[in-house]
């Protein structure tokens, strides 16, 4: 009994002051994921990695939009989204004060515009994603093969056009080109 009393006095007041004083969590505590929509290209890498389906992506072709959303109520705070994001648009913060009275407040959304295919005019992929990929490939490709300025710019134009074409039109174009090549070879023979 004496030992116990000694221990109690040794420890003193063990209780934290929260909520009357802020509670310090560890530096890399996994709290609420913060999505910076400005940095997001709506590529959906996070939504397919999310084990709990807390992240989702819905495409509305009629409106020409894709909506990213997170449910903090379903989130398991594993940080897979942070891990797979190619543009560092999502990162877990140390924020843990998430309780709400209204369930709708657990959801956060970001609406992105879809780009129209340059061939058929139908919306098919997020405009920001296409712009990002185009810029990335342009910065990365350098001057392979092309020698004059004019060649370079026509090659870049061709590539940009290709990136702005929807998969269905790409397939149709490819088939057409193959047919043309076959036709030419037939003629040459």
């Amino acid at each position: 009994m004496l030992k116990l009393l000694k221990e109690v006095f040794r420890q003193g007041d063990a209780t934290v002051k929260y909520p009357f004083a802020p509670y310090e969590v560890e530096k890399d505590f996994r709290g609420r994921p913060e999505h910076v929509a400005e940095n997001c290209i709506a590529c959906a890498a996070c939504t397919s990695a999310c084990p709990a389906n807390a992240l989702s992506m819905e495409t509305d072709l009629a409106a020409g939009t894709r909506t990213w959303s997170i449910s903090y109520g379903r989130c398991i705070f594993c940080a897979r989204c942070e891990e797979v994001c190619p543009t560092q648009a999502i990162r877990l913060t140390t924020d843990f004060e998430l309780a709400v009275a209204n369930k709708a407040d657990l959801t956060s959304q970001a609406v992105f515009k879809l780009a129209d295919c340059v061939c058929c005019g139908e919306p098919f992929a997020p405009a920001k994603e296409i712009a990002y990929v185009t810029a990335l490939i342009e910065a990365n490709s350098g001057t392979n093969g092309a020698s004059t300025g004019a060649e370079k710019s026509s090659e870049a134009e061709r590539r940009r056009r290709l990136l702005s074409t929807c998969p269905a039109c790409k397939r149709a174009n490819d088939l057409q080109q193959i047919a043309q090549i076959a036709h030419r070879q037939e003629k040459n023979r």
């Binding site: 030992k3 996994r30 705070f77």
Partner: protein
């Protein structure tokens, strides 16, 4: 995977089986150098399992069923044995049940440890174990439709929710006692926490004659989920949520099952970090149990003191993983968080503080006069019963068996450190409690050892190829004993089958024998001593068959009686 013949451990078991049962063995396949699957004829299955179990010091780890009809038109049965005598390895006895005849000979009459596994197969696959003495449902809710078997590949979508049909519980509880007894049901909701379970104690006056329980109130269908919605990498996070106390052990067991199946070499540093986290988990889990033992023996201040000290282990987890409870640091091929100098030095400081605190608290507990008499000789787990039912962890070690997966089948970083096995020969609550206390100090020194000699290099290996239809075991020693996972990859970056066996699953069947012959007031203490992620009961209904009365006693009253042992609520 091609395993080099020389490296194989366990060939002696196969030779033994071939010698004892000529013509039974059809083929043998090695998944890793110390995991072999031996296919036997279906009618020799019980004999083959029993031969290895009793003849070669095999312990049953898990029974797996797999609907392989889309692959080879059979149901695969896998009886996983952990061989713990000479040639330590895992031998998996496999037999194929043809889809045309959905039954198989039950192994339970020869090896009682198989009882839950076979009941579960009946629930989930609809295969009939012929000769199984206990044909009640185990896992599925009582109102689940008959003839709907969730894990059959062609049965249903994983989201199908049949409408509720009955609001009554119609589970038949079993009482082996001769003569008249009182029935004491507990649950399924309870105060002290933890997963719901429904207990029924059959008593004569104050003495427990027999006990039975209905578990799996929390059956959610995780195995089906892992086979449908999720990619194989995401399942590590699902495995974290098998259990809220020792989830990380499941995550490691799952990840290593896939790593074994695909032959992925996990970096040494990742292995060490996994072991550090597993020991952290053991720390907080054992401290929780010691706290509960304090509570059940009427020493509430001790309970509060252990929980206060336990927060240091929680801080340790948050420091190393970013989460207090769900660590979420495993990926197939390694881990996601490193231990940098800052984490290392703070961990060492916390470990030192914990050692001093637990030492003081433990001395206080031992000096408490009513502690010894309350736990000594209570809840005896007979050695013979233990051998027959293959319990795990401190429960089996408390009955004198040296079973510890960290030593028997060294995994993660345990190959490079010295792990002591603590055993006790009291077979009682005291033995189990003392083992847990000793293991706290072992865990602290293991963390120090691992931090002193953490290998350098990467923590993640991503250089592997997903191959279809590969399977293997993964295993860990969780705070409550061995966790074992059997996984098979599919052909779509998902799993074809995931079977996860938590340690408590192996410990429940012996609880009945531990309760027999004790007094009702010790029941919560005994249940708590298997550390079933907690003592799970909220009320006891007392049915006195002699007096032909039945009454329900609030759990709180039971708990009070357990603490104070005066004014029996049964009178």
């Amino acid at each position: 995977m091609n395993v080099h013949i020389d490296a194989r451990v366990g060939a002696s078991h196969i030779s033994y089986l071939r010698a004892k049962l000529p013509h039974a063995v059809l083929e043998e396949n090695w998944q890793t150098p110390n995991q072999v699957t031996v296919t036997v004829k279906l009618n020799t299955l019980p004999e083959a399992v029993a031969t290895l179990y009793y003849g070669r010091e095999g312990w049953l780890s898990v029974v797996v069923c797999n609907d392989e009809r889309p692959i080879n038109d059979t149901f695969g049965l896998y009886y996983v044995l952990s061989m713990e005598g000479e040639d330590r390895c895992h031998v998996i006895v496999h037999a194929a049940v043809p889809s045309s005849n959905e039954e198989f000979p039950s192994v339970t009459p020869k090896v009682p440890a198989c009882v839950w596994g076979e009941r579960e197969i009946r629930d989930m696959y609809g295969l009939r174990p012929i000769g199984l003495p206990d044909e009640r449902r185990l896992v599925l809710p009582d109102d689940w439709p008959d003839d709907l078997y969730p894990l059959r590949k062609d049965a249903m979508d994983y989201r199908l929710r049949p409408p509720p049909t009955s609001d009554k519980e119609n589970y038949q509880f079993r009482n082996d006692a001769e003569g008249e007894t009182t029935v004491v049901p507990l649950g399924p909701l309870h105060i002290t926490s933890d997963e719901p379970g429904h207990f029924r104690l059959f008593v004569d006056g104050e003495d427990i004659i027999d006990a039975d329980y209905r578990m799996f109130y929390v059956h959610r269908g995780m195995e089906k989920l892992a086979e449908t919605r999720m990619g194989y990498n995401e399942v590590t996070f699902l495995a974290d949520r098998v259990c809220g106390i020792c989830g990380y052990a499941h995550s490691v067991a799952y990840a290593s099952s896939i790593e074994n199946a695909l032959g992925i070499v996990v970096p040494q540093r990742a292995h060490a970090i996994r072991s550090i986290m597993l020991e952290t988990e053991r720390l907080h889990s054992h401290m929780l149990n010691l706290g509960l033992v304090c509570q059940f023996t009427g020493f509430d201040s001790g309970f509060m003191q252990f929980f206060r000290a336990r927060e240091k282990a929680m801080t340790l987890a948050e420091l190393l993983t970013g989460g207090r409870k769900t660590y979420g640091i495993n990926l197939i091929g390694g881990v996601r968080r490193d231990v940098l100098a800052e984490q290392r030095s703070r961990t060492l400081a916390l470990v030192a503080e914990l050692r001093a605190e637990v030492q003081r608290l433990f001395e206080i507990l031992l000096a408490t006069p009513n502690f010894g008499p309350r736990v000594k000789g209570v809840g005896i787990l007979d050695r013979k019963i233990a051998r027959d039912y293959s319990p795990v962890g401190p429960v089996v070690r408390g009955s004198g068996y040296r079973r510890d997966t960290r030593v028997d089948h060294a995994f993660a970083g345990y190959g490079s450190v010295d792990v002591d096995i603590n055993t006790g020969d009291g077979c009682d609550v005291q033995s189990r409690t003392m083992i847990r206390a000793a293991e706290i100090f072992d865990s602290l020194s293991l963390i120090e050892q691992l931090l002193d000699s953490t290998p350098t290099g990467p923590i993640l290996n991503e250089d592997f190829v997903y191959k279809p239809y590969k399977f293997a075991l993964g295993f860990t020693e969780a705070p409550r004993g061995e966790d074992i996972h059997w996984s098979m990859t599919g052909d779509n970056q998902k799993l074809y089958r995931w079977r996860c066996r938590a340690s408590t699953y192996a410990n429940w069947p012996v609880l009945r024998y531990m309760l027999r012959g004790n007094t009702v007031s010790d029941a919560p203490l005994i249940v708590g001593s298997i550390d079933p992620c907690y003592s799970c009961c909220d009320r006891m209904t007392v049915v006195d068959v002699r007096k032909e009365t039945s009454r329900t006693i609030p759990y709180k009253e039971m708990e009070r009686y357990c603490r104070e042992r005066t004014d029996s609520p049964l009178k």
